[in-house]
Symmetry: C2
Subunit: 301 residues, 2 copies
């Protein structure tokens, strides 16, 4: 058995998808939702992202056995303080944020008497807001749960069952290790994508219109990632600073080595790296983490 009365705080891509996924895959459970932005609450009600969209966070959590915070990492603490007086004592507190150490600390500080079990479904799209969610977002994706050392194993199992019901595969991990792994598989790629799109739009000799026209040469893939929610990503980089800076440093060293190989015409070094990187792609497709169709199966083809 898993949770039956789920309160979702924040009704964007993640919160909305959880609401729709519960409706689809856990039909017995009831959901309540709240979003700080009245326009988002209205739109969430129109799309019926949760069974009930409440006018206050306190109202949303009043009968919850699970509260999931789906707000940007920097807003977790304030959102948790808002429900402190209203949430039942035995409700489990969780979230979906992309950096776990800082969020665990913020939630635990705001709700010191509750069981806080952070989680991170590694899934998403470049879209955000109450129109972006869909029920199948978590299918075949991994959800990493980072229980604190003293967490009740029964509650961890209950949260695992919840995510598995929504279609995810669950992995338990230490929060610090999570933050390191995600720094390389998610945070660094976003940082690089944001940077290159910025670089390309600041050139004097190449116009923005040319960058857009000829983006099918590779650039357009980066723009997808660089269209992700700016508030969330600002918070991620500030919250997972140490791990991101460490990965960035390694990346810069590797890039400098490649730059040197190009400058000195060392074709063998280039060829060796370019051959090595193909194997990882194959594994990602074999393990069902990406679409095998060429070019992501873009519609033109």
């Amino acid at each position: 058995m898993t949770f039956q009365r789920i309160a979702i705080i924040g009704l964007g891509l993640l919160g909305g998808s959880i609401g729709l996924a519960v409706k689809e895959y856990l039909p017995g459970a009831r959901t309540t939702g709240y979003d700080l932005d009245p326009a988002n609450r209205r739109r969430a009600a129109e799309r019926a992202l949760t069974d009930r969209v409440c006018e206050t966070a306190a109202e949303a959590v009043r009968e919850a056995d699970l509260v999931i915070f789906c707000v940007p990492p920097g807003a977790m603490g304030a959102a948790a303080r808002e429900i402190a007086g209203a949430v039942p004592a035995d409700a489990v507190i969780s979230d979906v944020g992309s950096c776990k150490q800082s969020i665990a600390a913020a939630l635990t500080e705001a709700l010191p008497d509750h069981a806080v079990i952070p989680a991170h479904p590694v899934a998403g799209t470049e879209n955000s807001g109450p129109d972006a969610g869909f029920a199948a977002l978590f299918q075949k994706r991994w959800c990493i749960i980072t229980p604190p050392a003293d967490a009740d194993p029964a509650l961890v199992a209950k949260l695992s069952a919840f995510w598995e019901a929504l279609g995810a595969r669950v992995e338990l991990m230490d929060a610090q290790h999570h933050d390191l792994v995600l720094a390389v598989t998610s945070h660094l790629p976003h940082l690089i994508a944001y940077t290159i799109v910025g670089t390309a739009s600041d050139l004097e000799d190449v116009t923005q219109s040319e960058v857009i026209k000829y983006s099918a040469g590779g650039f357009r893939d980066f723009t997808r990632i660089a269209a992700s929610d700016p508030v969330m990503w600002r918070d991620v980089f500030l919250a997972n600073k140490e791990a991101v800076l460490e990965m960035l440093q390694r990346f810069s060293e590797d890039l400098t080595a490649l730059q040197r190989a190009i400058r000195w015409g060392d074709g063998d070094a280039l060829f060796d790296l370019f051959t090595r990187t193909r194997a990882i792609r194959r594994s990602i497709i074999e393990q069902g983490q990406d679409d095998a169709r060429p070019d992501f199966g873009r519609t033109d083809h």
Copy 2:
């Protein structure tokens, strides 16, 4: 009217797609093909990538009015020398390479008495070889033609008509400017993608299996690009060295600025960049250069 007897030298992703596209969209024209690799010739014949697959390059070009070289940039000169005695005097020589100055020089040196009009269809997928081609590859994509200053306008028009028949939109450009534009929209993105995939596979604290499992956080998009043909990309970076190093330098400066913003907790600088980059994505989708479906419409969703 456009060309009617097209010889395709190199039957990989691009050559094969041209052959199939001619069959589909220029049914009157005849195609001949050649590939240095006997296994590729066999497979090309099985897939009927061209009407006839020849055992020598000389045989393939003997009656051609258009010869298109679809080999890696570094192999253009040798491939052109192979047909020097056999190609009709009035045949137009073209190619599909991603860097135009060096290829124009190599083709002109090998075939000094022929009309050489280089071209670059900005289209592709991560797949390569004779199984990768498909007729619709050029639909709605731009093809940049870089005629030398003394090119016959009638032949340029004929080559433009050829690419338009295959579904592309044509733009004329100076070869030097082409190399600068593509350095940012194609070469730099590939270089960055190869680098980050290399960085991620060389970590001590994060296993390769973790990198693969949690790649849906953004990393997997980079692995697609980093699965592209290693020989071709080695040649591109060596051939377009100056422009690539210039773009790389700008990118590194921008990345260093972002690194500094993270280290000093300058959230406003991060937020400003992350907001700016969304607009470019919108334009790329509006102009039909990418798929508007979230997450590239991956099949899981």
